[in-house]
């Protein structure tokens, strides 16, 4: 007995040592990344003007100005145009202004005094009436700074004005840098994992890129339907504990899109302060949603759990607001980990598609598409594993995993229901008996019916008034009267957008409110990597060949989904009789992109490029794409 135990201890020792070494290695890597990020933030980004005075305060009454009256120690504008001249004499990091106004005002800064008629509006911005403090980034060397207020409909009252001469420590950028460095380091340090466990590195990179993006996400509506999904998640967080929903000023402001835009780190801090205070002011109470509400909003579950956890821990609004997004990231990372682990072929392609900026952006916002994207990847991974091992019987675990993942993915957006039918394409040899096969088919069809029933029961008003003069019944009647014309519009719309939606920036480098990152280099990197990964996805292994029948049927299923997407938007979001289909977005294609690309019969193209080369190159490219786009569209702004 003693001898056995001793030999176990001897066996365990190298294993333990390996784990400890691994922990130390990753710990040191993380520490180094943080240190480097700190160094970069301190040395590189704070270099400008760091040696000069920190802040220059101005006495309002002594300022050189036009169009203002000096009243009670404040400057009050008198007409449509007004100008203030601030002597600077060196580097200006930012302009701080405390003000009051009743409407949104336009202002522009320059380093020269200009006529009101000929103001250069290159550096124009909106002076937001929803806030009273503004910190505008200037980042220029100048003798003076001229602020011109243009076409004012309401007067503006300036209470205080000052110039910041040097940057304060930019926590956002520091975390961003640390996260990006961590992603890069993980790609390098984890090189031993690429052959056996690439999913581990994918998960680390996913988490790092998510964090890098999270710090760039503002506190206001930033993604598609953010406010609606936030409201649902918030309500769900109360419903899960059986409580009535307690709304507060901060949640109301977010849902009603009343929060001001922030354009600098200081403004972000100001808004954070406001939200944390507003989060303490109760406004309304709403009854618990009940089980039906929970099921209808199951895709908000990770977010709701994050909110719930934050609230339970007594966090202030902005902290649990971030925690909820981190919960999304955790969910996405875990599901992606298993999807990459399970999928037998195209691991790099899957990692690439999942980690492109738009899918990560969807994860880091309150939008629930990430939930569907992740589960769809998991379901397809399970399907492919079973499909490429025809000699092995399908396990109950696989059936359950595929069905549950598909059910949860489709329950939020019923247009993807046909994708459940992909499961029917497994060969006969996967089943022990005909009976088992029929049971399996029954489960899948039952799953489809269940989703449809659920969606039908929960369907509210079908028309979406955001589309304009919409009417589902009117549109159907119109289509029935003009079937040929509708077919032309339908096919034209799909064909016209096909290349952009499948290979363009719309579904890959799109940050909604922040815009599409169309920097020439980003597009080329994305496209080259994508096409190469599609071409070499099946490697050099003869087993990974999808037969023609399966390919055709699967393409057909995807075709039906595409028709559903366009058809549903034409019915619900497009004015009756329009010859253009409105509202269809490239992100609706993301859930089936992996399957679609893998179906392309590229098995004739053999790649002897090893996974240890392809995977790090893939991860390197997505890291680069994320870093560059997030820095330019979020951190810089």
């Amino acid at each position: 007995m003693m001898t056995e135990r001793r030999s176990e201890e001897v066996d365990m020792k190298p294993q333990n040592r390996k784990v400890i070494c691994s922990i130390i290695k990753w710990g040191v890597t993380a520490a180094l990344c943080i240190l480097c990020a700190y160094g970069l933030e301190k040395i590189v980004f704070r270099s400008a003007g760091s040696s000069e005075a920190v802040q220059m305060e101005y006495v309002l009454g002594e300022l050189e100005q036009t169009g203002f009256a000096y009243e009670d120690g404040k400057l009050v504008s008198e007409g449509a145009y007004a100008q203030v001249v601030l002597t600077a004499g060196g580097y200006i990091d930012s302009l701080h202004m405390e003000y009051e106004t009743n409407g949104m005002q336009k202002a522009a800064w320059s380093t020269e005094v200009q006529d009101f008629e000929n103001v250069d509006v290159t550096n124009a911005w909106e002076v937001d009436n929803r806030t009273h403090i503004m910190d505008k980034v200037i980042s220029a060397e100048a003798d003076k700074l001229v602020i011109t207020f243009l076409d004012m409909e309401e007067p503006i009252r300036i209470n205080a004005i000052s110039l910041q001469r040097s940057q304060s420590f930019h926590v956002q950028r520091f975390v961003f840098l640390a996260a990006v460095l961590m992603a890069c380091a993980a790609i390098v340090v984890g090189y031993k994992n690429y052959r056996e466990h690439p999913e581990r590195i994918v998960a680390v990179v996913c988490a790092a890129l998510g964090v890098a993006m999270l710090v760039g996400m503002p506190y206001w509506k930033f993604s598609w339907d953010d406010e609606t999904h936030f409201a649902n998640a918030y309500r769900l967080s109360y419903t899960l504990t059986g409580q009535d929903t307690k709304w507060n000023q901060a949640t109301d402001d977010f849902i009603n899109i009343k929060l001001p835009f922030t354009h600098s780190y200081q403004e972000r801090l100001n808004l954070k302060e406001y939200l944390d205070e507003a989060g303490q002011i109760s406004t309304d109470t709403e009854e618990s949603g009940g089980l039906r509400f929970v099921l209808a909003n199951i895709r908000n579950l990770p977010t709701a759990m994050g909110i719930l956890l934050g609230r339970a821990a007594g966090m202030v609004f902005t902290d649990w607001f971030v925690l909820a997004r981190l919960a999304n990231l955790l969910f996405y990372t875990v599901i992606l980990y298993f999807a990459v682990k399970i999928v037998p072929v195209g691991k790099s392609l899957m990692a690439f598609l999942a980690l492109l900026p738009t899918p990560v952006f969807l994860t880091m916002s309150y939008n629930t598409d990430y939930f569907m994207n992740a589960l769809m990847l998991l379901a397809i991974a399970v399907f492919l594993r079973e499909y490429f091992t025809p000699e092995e019987r399908i396990s109950r675990k696989s059936i359950a995993l595929f069905t549950v993942a598909m059910f949860l993915a489709c329950i939020g957006k019923a247009i993807y229901i046909p994708l459940i039918l992909v499961g029917l394409l497994l060969p006969e040899s996967k089943f022990a008996s005909r009976k088992q096969r029929w049971i399996y088919r029954g489960i899948l069809i039952g799953c489809c019916v269940l989703v449809l029933l659920f969606v039908a029961l929960n369907a509210g008003g079908m028309s979406d008034p955001r589309g304009g003069d919409t009417s589902v019944s009117g549109q159907i009647s119109y289509i029935l009267h003009n079937p040929f014309a509708f077919a032309v519009v339908f096919v034209k719309s799909i064909a016209k957008t096909a290349v952009e939606f499948l290979f363009g920036c719309e579904a890959t480098l799109n940050f909604n409110i922040a815009g599409i990152y169309e920097g020439g280099t980003a597009e080329i990197i994305m496209l080259i990597a994508l096409v190469l990964l599609i071409v070499i996805a099946k490697g050099n292994d003869k087993r990974y060949r999808i037969n023609a029948r399966t390919t055709v049927i699967a393409f057909g299923i995807i075709g039906v989904v595409i028709c559903f997407i366009w058809g549903s938007m034409y019915l619900a979001y497009t004015p009756v009789g329009s010859s253009v289909i409105n509202g269809v977005q490239a992100r609706y294609y993301i859930p089936f992109l992996f399957l679609l690309f893998l179906l392309i019969p590229t098995y004739r193209i053999k790649s002897t490029l090893p996974e240890k080369v392809v995977m790090p190159a893939t991860l390197g490219m997505v890291t680069l794409l994320n870093a560059v786009s997030v820095y330019n569209l979020m951190i810089m702004k």
Partner: protein
Amino acid sequence: MREKGKKFWAANWKLVLAIAIALAAACGIELIYNLQVLTESRNGNSRIAYEMQDLAYTGMEAQEDALVSTGAAGEIHIYPNGIYVDKLVYSYENPDPSKTVDTTVTAVVYDVYGNEAAESIADRNPYVLNQSVVNIRGKAAELCIHIPEGMEGLTISSIQIQNVPRFHGMRWLFFASLLSLMAVIVAKRYDFMGRVENLFLVIGLTAGTMLVIIMPLNKVGFDEETHFRNAYNIKLSGTVSSTEAIDRLKEASLDNYPYNIAQSSEERDAMEFYYETAGDYTGGSKARTEVPTELTTVAAANYIFMALGIKLGKLLQLPFTAVYTLGRLFNMWSYIFLIYFAIKRLPIGKYIMAVLALLPTPMFQASVYSCDAVITGFVYLGLAYLIYELVEREEKITIKNGVILLGSLGFGMVPKAVYLPLMFLPFLIPKDKFVNAGQRRVFRVANIVCMIGLIMAIVLPLLLITGVANDTRGGDVNAAGQAALILSQPLSYARVWLENVKNTFWSYSFGEGALGTLGHLSLSTCVPMIGLLLIFTIATDNIDRSEKDLAVKQKWIFFAGAAFAAAFVWGSLYLAFNPVGATVINGVQGRYFIPLLFVFYLLLRRRQVKNTMNPVYYHYLVFGCVLFIFYKTFYDCILQPYCF
């Protein structure tokens, strides 16, 4: 002989039959295009003329049978009451010779659902015509001709709607060439296996010839008037016959304005009719003049192919428009044959070159008066011979191959010596490739002589011709001042350069800038697809599963050569075309990088990716996409807007 004929027929009857079917099918397509017009003309609506006084108008005055613009913005309304309108025709007389007649026609037509939808058509009329024929091609509720402000005295008359069936030769040719190509690719599929150059030749010659024929007759390419002048006035004799109208095509004139092109087949016919007399250069013609020939620059030699086409046309006493087209045709054919020989010689990257050479911009540049096609052709030929020598290590380099290699690179670069860094690449040929040390020495010396020649081609004009370094089109340009600025602030210049490169990299490597721009015409409508096809071809070029490739070191040196040449392109334009201290480098066009693109693509090619596809299907896929891009682009950008 009979036996031979029988054999040929036995081997090719399928092909002949397929082409015959293709030509007949093109006639069928032509019939389909005319169906609606045939119906309308049978209903008695073939020509509906409108009396001027019956029309609703503003800003115009009625005078006899015409409407005269008062100088204010004017409108003329025509109400066809929902009938199909193929063309709207009106005559005009412009009293102001300094202006072209540019109107806008708004057509209120019925969309697919039968709802009214307004479409705006810019009707920019060629300077030499006096009748406008606008394609409407739809059931129209209303047509409105908008006369812009400031056209005082412009007389509009003879407004009519035309629904006359017509056999459009160019449209027929377009579809006939496409269908014939498809027939040839399918019928001769096994003959093209392993001979991609033959497939390129068939596509290039057929599609290229068609493209030249449908190309508008006045300037559409960048600086085409200068290139036409260089080709027409080439110093092969003391003088050449010309006319005033032809001379106006040799300069930037209103006759030649690239945005006032014939917009319908009728207008094109009218242009041809105009040049039949105004461009009659033949003996006995009243319009004929004799102009002295010119030796513009050393680079004039590159116009030899275009010049030969012009000479041949004139020798055959062809009408001027045919002569003009023949010059373009020779440019196209020389390009296709040069690339054909380059692909034939290439041991690797054959598909990459074939696809790249058939893309819209390279083909467009070959179909107009431009020396780009000859430059690209010769540079590619030189590179192909060089790559062959580098990859095929066993064979010794022959004198013939050495001459072709250096001669092609040198001759190709003469007009644009900015590609000079590529001339360093032949130094990569290793010692063991030469028969003996003497041969190696001669080759190296010849290489150096070529380089010196190219340097002279840059330096001599700068020394001998005052102001040649400054292109005034760029504004307040001062090459010496710009150079001084760069030398005093090299880092700032590097930043400006990198910023400009970054902003245009995609466009100039896989995008619209290098491969989708059609001179003064619109951009290709297949831009994302061009990039996708190229990337796919680069990834799958290795269809012969060959292990041959350039060595890593050679690849890096190739890359350095191409990168330096690209930097020279940017740098030369920064010096010669931009005001001192500009932070945006103007004047750089994607087409300048086409000769370098093949080198860049070759570096992306991975021999570890082996394409085991059936070459027949691979040809269908790759060249099917090439044909789609080519024909869709030119249908959208030339055939439909200018030849219907």
